[in-house]
């Protein structure tokens, strides 16, 4: 028995030594980097500290890197991804994220090595990795290698577009244009393609053609799908998984679900920690919804104090003041909204003022003035959105309400141009120039129609 006991004791001793050594080896491994958490809000600080202090297995390192990167601690994120890559040398995902983070801190050569490794490890977005390699070569002022990478990632339309740009810069205009045609086939109506087409035409000396493309580009809103945009979206999603933005998301969800009491507490807690425009917007909406209009006005005033006035916040202020029965103040806010910007909110301010004069105080003349401005803004929006029929209706109204507005005739011309009515458009631009001979945009449109403006004649 004694022999067995002794044997067991020896085995235990060996185990203690071996596993003790293994334990020591594990604990003495490098710990995660410790960023300066004092510069973020306390929710984010707590969560990042928790992630850091519970990082044990390789996957934890990978997540910590993503969390650091989402919170803007790029240098620490890169060091963390670097460690994750050591622990998971076969992970294509870690290699990709490490490459992206290295790009972010401007370490381009190492970034490209990591993207290359992600490709070799068969990352499902290998083409994206190759696109990023090309991008980094461009950032490194190396268009030759960038071209090579973009050619390899040519199945991505943006890669093809970047290639077209390189060729355009080099003077290979025909090849650039043929690539652009392929991009357009894959992604129609994207703004970059029109801009580059305009540049190509300009380089060819075709000024009217270039201007035509520029005018087309003017009303395009969509960009070519970008792998960088996808990574940005991923970072934002990660950012809303912890800390301040997780709390903010939760609070805004409560607002959306109309759980008013809980929502109010949560929103207040979040705003008390750090001011965020979206959260504050929710708070304003919530207060208006539950009838706390005085509090809503205070929030709006705080917003204006911090970020200045614009037509959007002045529109809301006017609406809330009207709810309080403060007609004069509401009217003043809307009018300031019209004065300060020329966007959708300014248009809505116009509508409110026109309605007020038309329906409440029955001042038809004043109502007409604002209907005219509003119609111009509606028409402008219609043109920007390429809804030329709607723009035409509104521009026609604007001309009717205010026949001395050069801008109204210009907008009418633009809508007619969009509808393919070039002769009518030409007339409208010329009417605009009769009223305002220096109206540059009308002059430009006439040039794009191949006409010499009457003024210039």
């Amino acid at each position: 028995m004694r022999r067995e006991v002794s044997f067991t004791l020896v085995v235990i001793a060996i185990e203690v030594v071996v596993f003790g050594y293994l334990y020591f080896q594990k604990t003495s491994q490098p710990a995660p980097p410790r960023p300066n958490l004092a510069i973020v809000d306390s929710f984010t600080e707590d969560d990042l500290a928790f992630f850091r202090d519970t990082t044990k297995v390789p996957a934890d390192w990978h997540w910590l890197g993503q969390a650091y990167m989402a919170a803007g601690y790029y240098a620490e994120a890169q060091a963390t991804f670097g460690r994750a890559a050591e622990l998971m040398p076969d992970s294509a995902f870690v290699a990709f994220d490490n490459g992206f983070c290295l790009s972010r801190v401007g370490n381009l050569e190492e970034a490209n090595s990591e993207f290359q490794r992600a490709i070799e490890l068969e990352h499902p977005k290998s083409a994206d990795a190759m696109y990023f390699i090309g991008r980094n070569h461009l950032r490194n002022e190396d268009p030759k290698n960038a071209e090579e990478a973009f050619r390899k990632a040519v199945k991505i339309p943006l890669s093809k577009f970047e290639l077209a740009k390189i060729l355009y810069r080099r003077g290979d205009l025909d090849e650039a244009e043929s690539l652009l045609t392929e991009v357009v086939r894959a992604e129609k109506g994207t703004v970059q393609t029109f801009v580059l087409r305009s540049q190509i035409e300009l380089k060819r000396g075709n000024v009217a053609g270039a201007e035509k493309q520029s005018i087309e580009a003017d009303s395009k809103w969509v960009r070519i799908r970008s792998p960088f945009g996808e990574q940005r979206q991923r970072m934002m999603e990660n950012n809303s998984k912890f800390g301040y933005y997780a709390k903010a998301k939760e609070a805004m969800a409560k607002v959306a679900q109309h759980e008013n009491r809980v929502a109010r507490e949560k929103v207040k807690e979040v705003l008390g920690e750090e001011f965020d425009l979206n959260v504050q917007d929710s708070f304003i909406k919530l207060d208006v919804f539950v009838g706390r209009v005085k509090e809503a006005v205070e929030l709006i005033e705080e917003r204006i104090e911090r970020f200045g006035p614009n037509s959007s916040i002045l529109l809301t202020l006017g609406d809330v003041q009207m709810l309080r029965g403060e007609e004069e103040i509401a009217l003043q806010a809307w009018m300031e909204g019209i004065d300060i910007n020329s966007d959708k909110s300014a248009r809505d301010c116009c509508k409110r003022v026109a309605n007020y004069y038309g329906n409440t105080v029955l001042d038809k003349e004043k109502s007409l003035v604002y209907q005219a401005i509003g119609a111009e803004l509606y028409a402008q929006e219609g043109i920007l959105l390429e809804e030329f029929g709607l723009a035409n209706q509104q521009a026609t109204l604007a001309v009717k309400f205010n026949p001395s507005s050069a801008e109204a005739f210009y907008l009418l011309g633009r809508s007619e141009l969009g509808m393919g009515k070039t002769s009518a458009a030409s007339n409208s631009f010329n009417r605009c120039l009769e009223l305002e001979p220096t109206h540059g945009r009308s002059l430009l449109c006439l040039k794009s129609l191949g006409e010499i403006p009457k003024k210039a004649k």
Binding site: T27, A31, G72, A217, R223, F228, G308, T438
Partner: protein
């Protein structure tokens, strides 16, 4: 039965169990063992520099702010109330152009120029007697607000001085975001015309020339349809006696395009691409014209440090200050004269009084996680245009604009900075601050 064996049985059982528990336990809990060694090394871009040998002293010209201020541009002009200098600033937050009057007792008094109405995101301000009536008016470019938009929110306004009461006149509207408007008599007809940088929205921008008919009526000419124009400094860059201008463009392209006046105004201006980079991420943020090497022609200083692609910015190794050296005949050589993260504003001055031009630079996006990250630096010129970076201040942080001049009339140029603080960290706030150069200099 062996009594001794019987006695030792519990001990043996425990030992056997222990023998099994140790490896099983280690195996089960191995993933819970935390690494506690030295933290992984973090490589970062240099964010702080040797302290300046000139001991600049900070003076806040406005009361301590409770939150981030949004000053986008500032200029120094002679004070009306002392021998000193006043500061004129464009305040994006309040939509006001402010003049900080330097009173004879040394205090600063804040006044608002555009009292008649607020402006949509005033981004640039130029004091100038625009209408030639002998008093100072202000030319203001408006970006429309601090949130990017594709809407037609940009404006150029003239704050016209009518015997001390300012009237806001819209010179240009219904265009996308405007980042700069500069003036000059380009057509040599005795009145001031304008060049305008319409930065644009998504990708639609313009460089415009607004020709004045002498009665503040302007004909606008699109000189180039391009997005991302930031600044359009004016000067006689080819020394032929008429005014040219150059545009710093940053969006899809990163380049500087000069527009050569061929003696008949700018309508037929000849374009010269004097700088371009394939690095679309270069981050050019501002440009001023100055004869840095004092060889008799105008060069350019470029601030490099814009970095707004993601919700959190990152200083890049190529950020800093570039000098475009005018070699004549529209040839310019590019030199990186400082590497500092997130530089947004630059201004030249001879800080050490040695007769050559040094440069002040401010940073909006340095690595603020580092306590001592520089927000203001000056670059000492050794006379051969080799520059050494000296750190002036590490707070306030997030500075967008800088101007240099002798604000306290002691014979040495000072540095005045404006804060544009809209991102984390929400601390070390500033408004408008002067960094006063001691009279004895270095």
């Amino acid at each position: 039965m062996n009594p001794s064996r019987e006695r030792n049985r519990p001990l043996a059982t425990i030992l056997v169990l222990l023998m099994l528990v140790i490896p099983v336990g280690f195996y089960s809990f191995r993933n819970d063992i935390q690494a506690r060694g030295k933290p992984v090394d973090v490589e970062r871009i240099q964010s702080s520099f040797e302290p300046s040998q000139i001991e600049f002293s900070r003076e806040a010209l406005l009361p301590n702010p409770k939150f981030g201020q949004l000053f986008s541009n500032l200029k120094l002009i002679p004070s009306t109330e002392s021998d000193w200098m006043d500061v004129v600033a464009a305040d994006c937050r309040t939509g006001r152009v402010k003049r900080l009057i330097h009173e004879s007792n040394g205090d600063w008094r804040e006044t608002i120029i555009n009292q008649d109405r607020q402006l949509p995101g005033p981004g640039g301000v130029n004091p100038v007697d625009f209408d030639g009536d002998g008093d100072i008016d202000y030319l203001v470019s408006c970006i429309g607000g601090i949130q990017p938009t594709n809407d037609l929110v940009g404006r150029v306004c003239l704050l016209k001085n009518n015997d001390g009461v300012f009237e806001t006149i819209d010179i240009l509207k219904n265009v996308r975001r405007v980042t700069d408007a500069q003036y000059g008599d380009f057509d040599n007809d005795g009145d001031l015309d304008l060049v305008v940088a319409v930065f644009g929205g998504l990708l639609q921008g313009q460089i415009l020339y607004l020709q004045n008919d002498g009665d503040l009526n302007f004909t606008d000419y699109e000189l180039l349809n391009i997005s991302g124009a930031i600044h359009v400094p004016v000067g006689d860059f080819d020394n032929d006696g008429d005014l040219d201008f150059a545009a710093l463009v940053s969006q899809e392209e990163e380049e500087v395009i000069a527009f050569e006046n061929q003696g008949d105004g700018l309508v037929n201006a000849k374009r010269h691409w004097i700088f371009s980079s394939s690095n679309f991420d270069l981050g050019t943020a501002g440009m001023v014209a100055t004869d840095l090497d004092q060889d008799g022609d105008q060069d350019f200083l470029i601030a490099i440090g814009d970095n707004l692609e993601l919700i959190n910015n990152a200083a890049q190794p190529w950020h800093g200050v570039k000098w475009l050296e005018n070699k004549g005949n529209w040839e310019f050589d590019s030199h990186q004269i400082a590497s500092v993260g997130g530089v947004y504003g630059v201004a030249p001055a001879d800080f050490d009084g040695d007769g050559d031009l040094d440069v002040a630079a401010v940073s909006i996006f340095n690595d603020w996680s580092q306590d001592n990250a520089a927000s203001v630096v000056w670059l000492e010129n050794d006379g051969e245009q080799n520059f050494k970076t000296w750190q002036v201040a590490s707070e306030p942080i997030q500075l967008s604009c800088v101007a240099c001049g002798d604000v306290n009339n002691d014979g040495t140029p000072d540095i005045v900075t404006g804060s544009f603080h809209f991102r984390r960290p929400y601390s070390k706030f500033g408004g408008i601050d002067a960094f006063l150069n001691p009279a004895e200099g270095k």
